[in-house]
Amino acid sequence: MRKPVDVGDPDRLYMVTGGRSTADDSFDLVTLIVSENEPSAGMQSEHVRILELCRHPTALVEISAELKLPVTVTRILVGDLHDMGKVSARHPRAAESVASLPETALLQEVLDGLRNL
């Protein structure tokens, strides 16, 4: 039986986000987050964890799974770090090398990748 992610304590989630419960949707589940700075002293522990995880690009949804926090809460925390300039975000299909591709060229790359599995 799969163990549900721990959200049994709404108060904790409330504390983590400073009472906020809605996030803007600018971070997709597969937006890749990359740390730009090392954690600094006095930072909230969740922010520290995110900065550690994102030393390599990490999708929002992976951060959520690793922190065992719901996606919405993770969005809020990542948004904080982004506002502080501590992380950068690589949005889906926004990268120049991909955004300019025709759909067929993009899909061809996906196919090649899958065939090489």
Binding site: S21, E46, S97, G113, L114
Partner: protein, 205 residues
């Protein structure tokens, strides 16, 4: 959440630093049809799970009171990952197919390349709703029939196509969700389908 000291050695496999574009494919199907099995078979990481807390307006609005009730629902989903090349990474999401999760799909499906509907022939009716929603969202999809060992019905793909009222344009494939090679074929079938669709669009003036 404990203190941030001494993490256990991470079992995570990080992406390469050149990864810049995340792509999504959604696997939908009824409970126990093998979504997680399929994701696990092809994923380069052990499937992870997380959850989304959804607030939705109550559907049975009590008109005499005039106050719209809001309910919060927590929906768990699994996902896996495939690094396609140095810059593209594909995420596979396993999403529950039951009707009450439609609001999760709306979010999961946005921006997705396409979907795999995983079907168990013993419970084909479990796929109807998923297919209906995908068609509604105009999300391209393929239907993969997970052939369990004890699948004694052995309906042919054409019989299943009829039972699910699928158009001729929807690709269908038999699979064994436990096998990496089979899961890979399912994904290739989907992306091939997407490719053909994109090609015909690009060649249409």
């Amino acid at each position: 959440m404990g203190s941030a000291t001494s993490e256990p050695p991470s079992q995570r496999t990080p992406l390469t630093d050149t990864a810049e574009t995340g792509l999504k494919i959604v696997v939908v199907g009824g409970f126990g049809v093998g979504k997680t099995t399929l994701v696990r078979a092809v994923s380069e990481i052990r499937p992870l799970n997380t959850e989304e807390v959804m607030t939705q307006a109550g559907q049975g609005v009590d008109e005499t009171v005039g106050v719209e009730r809001k309910t919060t629902t927590t929906v768990a989903f699994d996902f896996g990952r495939i690094s396609l090349n140095h810059r593209m990474v594909l995420y596979l999401f396993g999403a529950p197919g039951q009707e009450r999760f439609w609001f999760l799909w709306d979010r999961l499906f946005s921006g997705t390349l396409g979907a795999v509907v995983l079907v168990d022939t013993r419970r084909m009716e479990d796929s109807w709703y998923a297919i209906d929603r995908l068609e509604h969202h105009k999300t391209p999809f393929v239907v993969a029939v997970n052939r369990f060992d004890d699948d004694t019905n052995r309906f042919s793909l054409e019989e299943i196509r009829k039972a699910l009222a699928l158009g001729e344009h929807v690709p269908m494939i038999d699979c064994d969700a436990r096998l990496r090679s089979s899961g890979k074929e399912v994904l290739i079938t989907l992306v091939d389908h997407l490719y053909s669709m994109a090609l015909s669009q690009e060649s249409t003036p």
